[in-house]
């Protein structure tokens, strides 16, 4: 039986209700507390470090995101590590939780399509993450203005907003992944474990797996320097399967204007180049655009997977 009318009718109702539920849930409170504390710690350390060591920098504000003071890592790497956790926490029981609570039939008895339910759940969680990220970003900016005593310049603002958007897409990838697991696996605990396992592999162990696989695909011949290059390129391609790598490249290009490339650079390309000259913002965005669009496409495809599986599922259980 084909549906009649728009499949998106009622999406906003579901999304807003979902967002409100997340906002008041103890799970969300705990995990946001963790993120906030670590973020404030990282920024505070960065501010102290900047005040102690930096005399002048045209992009001082962006340094807030990337400066790390031992033992704390920088704000950007904190986000790269902890945001998947937030997204998984919001998405791991999106569908199978409804089955577990036996509320799915009741929910779908309302005049909404299944499409709207899944879209709404995804958008609701994404909205919560967006609100949390915006809060964090404003907090950072405020702390920076308060402690460094200078407002961010135009290019810094553009770069940090682009970084905020890319971070949201990155969180969306993990959210879509967690929702895909929650549709595929009936048990919420198993889905959460599967998502967490994948997160651990991709963010912690992937940097060890990539060279291993690259060595097997294109081995290094010590007498042929070109194999070294192809090995490196293979390694980079494999590493970029992990959203963590893509996100790391995005944040390093956007937050450090003197970064000029994410790939290997030859000496001949550096001849005559002015090292440390900042790149125009649009150029940084152009260079990193493939990574951003890759993240976005991954998010959409993972969601499509969840959608397809959910549409074909028997819901009257």
């Amino acid at each position: 039986m084909k549906r009649e009318g728009s499949p998106f009718k009622g999406v906003m109702t579901v999304a807003l209700k979902e967002a409100a539920d997340h906002m008041t849930s103890a799970r969300m409170h705990l995990i946001m507390l963790l993120v906030l504390l670590t973020a404030i710690g990282a920024v505070y350390g960065a501010i102290n470090h900047i005040r102690d060591t930096t005399s002048e920098d045209p992009f001082l504000f962006l340094k807030l995101f990337t400066t790390a003071q031992q033992p704390l890592p920088s704000f950007a790497s904190f986000l790269g590590f902890l945001l998947p956790l937030v997204a998984i926490a919001l998405g791991f029981d999106a569908i199978n939780g409804e089955y577990g609570r036996r509320t799915m039939s009741r929910l779908l008895a309302q005049p909404i399509y299944r499409d709207a339910l899944l879209f709404g759940k995804f958008l609701g969680a994404l909205l919560v993450i967006a609100i949390a990220l915006l809060t964090l970003w404003l907090l950072m900016t405020g702390l920076g203005i308060l402690f460094l005593g200078l407002p961010p310049s135009g290019p810094e603002l553009v770069r940090s907003i682009a970084y905020l958007a890319a971070t949201l897409v990155y969180a969306g990838v993990w959210l879509a992944l967690a929702m895909a697991f929650s549709t595929l696996i009936r048990s919420a605990a198993t889905a959460a474990l599967a998502a967490l396992a994948l997160w651990l592999i991709l963010s912690v162990f992937w940097s060890m797996i990539a060279p291993l696989v690259a060595g097997a695909i294109s081995p290094v011949d010590p007498y042929n320097p070109m194999t070294l290059l192809s090995n490196f390129e293979t390694q980079q391609v494999i590493a970029r399967i992990s959203p963590q790598t893509l996100y790391g490249e995005v944040s390093s290009m956007l937050l450090d204007p003197s970064n000029r490339s994410v790939g290997p650079i030859f000496m001949s390309q550096l001849q005559g180049a002015l090292i440390n000259a900042p790149l125009p913002t649009m150029q940084s965005l152009t260079i990193i655009w493939p990574q951003i669009s890759g993240l976005f496409a991954a998010m959409v495809l993972l969601f499509t997977l969840a959608y397809t599986v959910f549409q074909r599922q028997e819901v009257r259980a």
């Binding site: 002015l274 125009p280 150029q283 669009s293 890759g294």
Partner: protein, 409 residues
């Protein structure tokens, strides 16, 4: 003093102490007299047989320059005769000459000469500026007692005679560019009878700067002291303004003390200097270009010098793999203040990474050259951006297809 205070402390009877003081002092004053008299006694021993009264001068015949004051030194000498009062008289000085006889700084007509002493007198003579070259016999007479001593002299007026001061340049004509410092070496000779401090002055065209230095010294001076009969080295440095046109410029240098003036003419020749300046579009020092594509910039080559430049070659030093071509490739001739637009086509290497690169663009001829550092911001092509959009579009299409395919109630 010590002796006096000593005697005062014991002054019991004043008469007795005074006598003692006198007794002590008298031998001392006698000894002082003996001591000062000793050299004159020795001199007299040599000229023992000379006795009498003379009027002398070192140079009884001398040349004068018209219009210049000359000091002639006269000496009255008394040998072994009692003090003499000498009435002085100068005769034979032509009418219209300025003259005076001075002793101790005042005009005198008589002098008193002690035994075995001499008295210096100064005869100051100024021939009028218009007087012809001619010799004049003059006579100075001194009447003393019943005797007369005469000093005949000949004053020769000569316009070529060595004056009080003379200024001689070693190299009077110099040549150089507008940026050179022209250094003239001059000799100042003081031929006068007295030490003199000369004021220095130079007359130069507008905008030229002059500096006076002594010999090879580094201090700038405005006055130069020269001893009588000596010479001193003087250095005059002339700095023309940088914008001066090529040509020959006269320079006049003068030295003067109160009475004498000497000047000399110098010549300074500025040769033309070609100079090239290369400027980016609207004076900018940077521009942007896309990797692997030609971008055109309009540069301007200007001759900012004062001489024409020929055969200007246009070159560039670039990073590896870059191409820079000029249109026109060279400039055959550029007159002073003339401009030439040059189209510079910059082709960054295909593999250039985004960001700033520095190029050196050079315009050079044999005589002049200029290098412009031009900063090129390389932009990467937007093809990959479109590809990224394509990826996103593809994924959205997949989603759309699945939404329509699996749409159910």
């Amino acid at each position: 003093m010590i002796r006096i205070s000593h005697s005062q402390s014991r002054a019991k009877s004043p008469a007795k102490s005074l006598a003692r003081v006198l007794a002590v002092m008298l031998p001392i004053s006698a000894a002082v007299q003996l001591a000062t008299g000793a050299p004159s006694l020795a001199q007299d021993m040599q000229n023992q047989d000379l006795k009498g009264f003379w009027l002398t001068t070192p140079y009884p015949e001398l040349a004068l320059r018209p219009g210049e004051k000359e000091n002639i030194q006269l000496t009255l000498k008394n040998a072994d005769i009692p003090p003499q009062r000498a009435e002085l008289q100068v005769t034979g000085i032509p009418d219209g000459w300025d003259w005076a006889l001075e002793g101790g700084g005042r005009e005198v007509t008589a002098a008193m000469v002690q035994p075995n002493a001499s008295e210096r007198l100064m005869l100051k003579v100024t021939p009028p500026a218009a007087s012809a070259d001619k010799s004049f016999p003059i006579k100075v007479t001194a009447h003393y007692g019943n005797d007369v001593t005469t000093l005949p002299m000949t004053l020769k007026v000569s316009s070529t005679a060595a004056g009080g001061v003379k200024l001689t340049p070693q190299l009077p004509a110099l040549r150089g560019t507008a940026k050179s410092t022209f250094t003239y070496k001059l000799k100042v000779a003081n031929n006068g009878a007295e030490d003199a401090l000369f004021n220095l002055a130079a007359q130069v065209p507008d905008g030229f700067q002059t500096r006076f230095k002594q010999g090879y010294g580094s201090e700038e001076i405005t006055g130069l002291p020269v001893k009588a009969g000596a010479t001193a080295d003087l250095t005059v440095e002339v700095v023309p303004p940088h914008s001066v046109e090529a040509g020959r410029y006269p320079i006049k240098v003068a030295v003067a003390d109160g009475e004498n003036v000497a000047n000399t003419d110098l010549s300074l020749e500025v040769t033309g200097q070609p100079e090239i300046s290369m400027q980016g579009p609207q004076g900018r020092l940077s521009g942007s270009a896309v990797a692997g594509k030609d971008t055109n910039f309009s540069f301007t080559v200007t001759n900012t010098g004062s001489a024409p430049v020929s055969d200007i070659a246009l070159r560039a030093s670039t990073p590896q793999g870059w191409k820079v071509s000029y249109e026109p490739k060279s400039i055959p001739m550029l007159a002073p203040d003339a401009k030439q637009e040059v189209n510079v086509s910059i082709h960054p290497s295909e593999k250039a990474i985004a960001g700033d690169y520095m190029l050196n663009l050079t315009a050079s001829s044999g005589a002049a050259s200029d290098t412009e550092k031009f900063r090129v911001t390389v932009e990467t092509s937007t093809i990959w951006g479109l590809a990224g959009l394509g990826v996103i579009a593809a994924s959205v299409i997949v989603l759309g297809v699945s939404v329509t395919r699996y749409g159910r109630r």
